[in-house]
Symmetry: C2
Subunit: 303 residues, 2 copies
């Protein structure tokens, strides 16, 4: 469908600019602790001990997975993406609602497979699937996950709290997700919960669009510049620096940590998660200081 041949197209905007433009006039309610522009929304009164975490996320056929993909993996990915975002806020995922938009000729066995993948992820990470919605699609297959979670006020992390001098860390290894990891990754829920209860990061997010896209987002939200030591970036075996910076869908944690806690954190992490590398890749600097100029771009839906 060609909508309006002379109109300004969505493809003229990058995703962040598009969202900023669409949401510029939205009123913000007083109980919104973290709003638009973060991994999740966080709701609650300033003095509540526990806040509500809200996330919505979708996977789209031919964008996030191929039409012939194993259905269990589609379901796993759909729920785990949202779990990864709740984890990045320091939260514990709780209840999920699933929207399926399905072509009429879609196979019921495939849909059951998708649901089996959702169920497996739900069981693995303590989520209850409590409802959903089903609609016919006139195009491909879409799946939306709406996920709630809980976070203790003192454990809540967003993108905005980073400070100049903070060390920047990533979990795991980056790049090469399209070889399979984007469909069967493990959201870093255990790691994130351990972090926020032991060494509260100043700012945190998960890497979904590639470090080249997401690190500048974290820095901008924290009003910092950054220095990135490209040679330190932990690359998936066989991946180039470009892959590690741009592939996206790593679903690893990226966080800013007080330099005072750095060496303690590194020792404790190694003991707690011996199989998941933790790497210091740089640091935040004052926003007026020169930042590393990235030669890579990361993933964008529209440009």
């Amino acid at each position: 469908v060609e909508y309006e041949p002379h109109a300004v197209k969505v493809s003229r905007f990058n995703e962040d600019a598009l969202i900023a433009r669409l949401t510029r006039n939205l009123p913000v309610a007083p109980d919104v602790r973290v709003g638009i522009g973060s991994d999740c929304a966080v709701i609650g009164q300033p003095r509540d001990k526990v806040w509500l975490v809200l996330k919505t996320d979708c996977v789209v056929e031919s964008v996030h997975f191929l039409p012939g993909e194993k259905p269990e993996r589609i379901g796993w990915k759909a729920l785990c993406r949202a779990i990864s975002d709740v984890a990045a806020c320091g939260g514990v995922p709780r209840h999920a609602l699933i929207t399926l938009v399905v072509p009429c000729d879609y196979s019921v066995e495939r849909l059951e497979g998708v649901y089996a993948g959702i169920c497996k992820a739900a069981r693995s990470f303590g989520v209850s699937v409590v409802g959903g919605e089903t609609s016919r699609s006139t195009g491909g297959f879409f799946l939306n996950v709406a996920l709630t979670g809980e976070v203790e006020r003192k454990c809540c992390v967003s993108r905005t709290g980073g400070r100049a001098g903070d060390r920047l860390y990533v979990s795991g290894r980056l790049g090469g997700s399209m070889r399979g990891k984007h469909l069967d990754f493990t959201p870093r829920l255990d790691e994130a919960r351990w972090l926020v209860t032991h060494y509260l990061p100043h700012a945190m997010m998960d890497i979904s669009d590639g470090l080249a896209k997401d690190l500048p987002r974290l820095a901008a939200a924290s009003k910092c510049g950054f220095v990135l030591n490209e040679e330190e970036i932990p690359k998936t075996r066989g991946c180039s620096l470009k892959d590690a910076m741009e592939d996206g869908e790593d679903f690893e944690l990226l966080f800013a940590m007080s330099p005072k806690l750095a060496s303690k954190l590194e020792t404790a992490w190694k003991k707690k998660f011996p199989r998941v590398p933790l790497t210091c890749i740089g640091q935040f600097v004052r926003s007026s200081a020169p930042s590393t100029q990235l030669t890579y771009r990361g993933f964008d839906h529209f440009t």
Copy 2:
């Protein structure tokens, strides 16, 4: 895309049967007060004074609206559908998350129009839009709304509490929604809140797929049969009985009320909502008693 030419297709199932099949193995957590098969999920501990209401809902281009439709009306409809469901549970809507799945050649002005419609609905009904997700679409335009709400435990209504002898009521008039009402309807939030705080219905839902589809759902969930007085059904001007039974997207309230409260309710409603008709259209009977055999079908996405 033809997925698997010999597989059982989604179109072999009606929507309820499909959902039942997909969700049959889902574990139910102990804090789920109302789960799959109702208008909303309701979460909380049995003794909590206020429960959390969760809803997800979508509108799909060429299914719920035409590609050339005025964008403000698409946004209004998308959020108001979900508000209608929260109202039908007795709840107050609170926070919304918006997922946009958009073709790259979609006009940004149109998207802004959709958001303006969402904002207008949000302001009208006290909802905060707190986040969302954006993805590229390879097919049409698709919009998902995830909405939270709150309901006092003593005001919470589901589909399951109806009893033999209850009077069945509908608000407003049914049929003809495709002439425009499906895009600019007013969710019956005020009416539903007044009902649950003054004359708590035993069971309630909103009519989205037509009375012919939704009344049997309410009866089945309440384990009742029903007698429907077809001549009593309030029809939109110019609509036939068939239209009123089948068109769907009325977004009117359908509820079961103790016969002891019926005459008081009717008098009080007329005074409170003089411009919204309230009509008794029949009653619940024992499930073993003969029910009215419907000659109409209502809307189904897949069959």
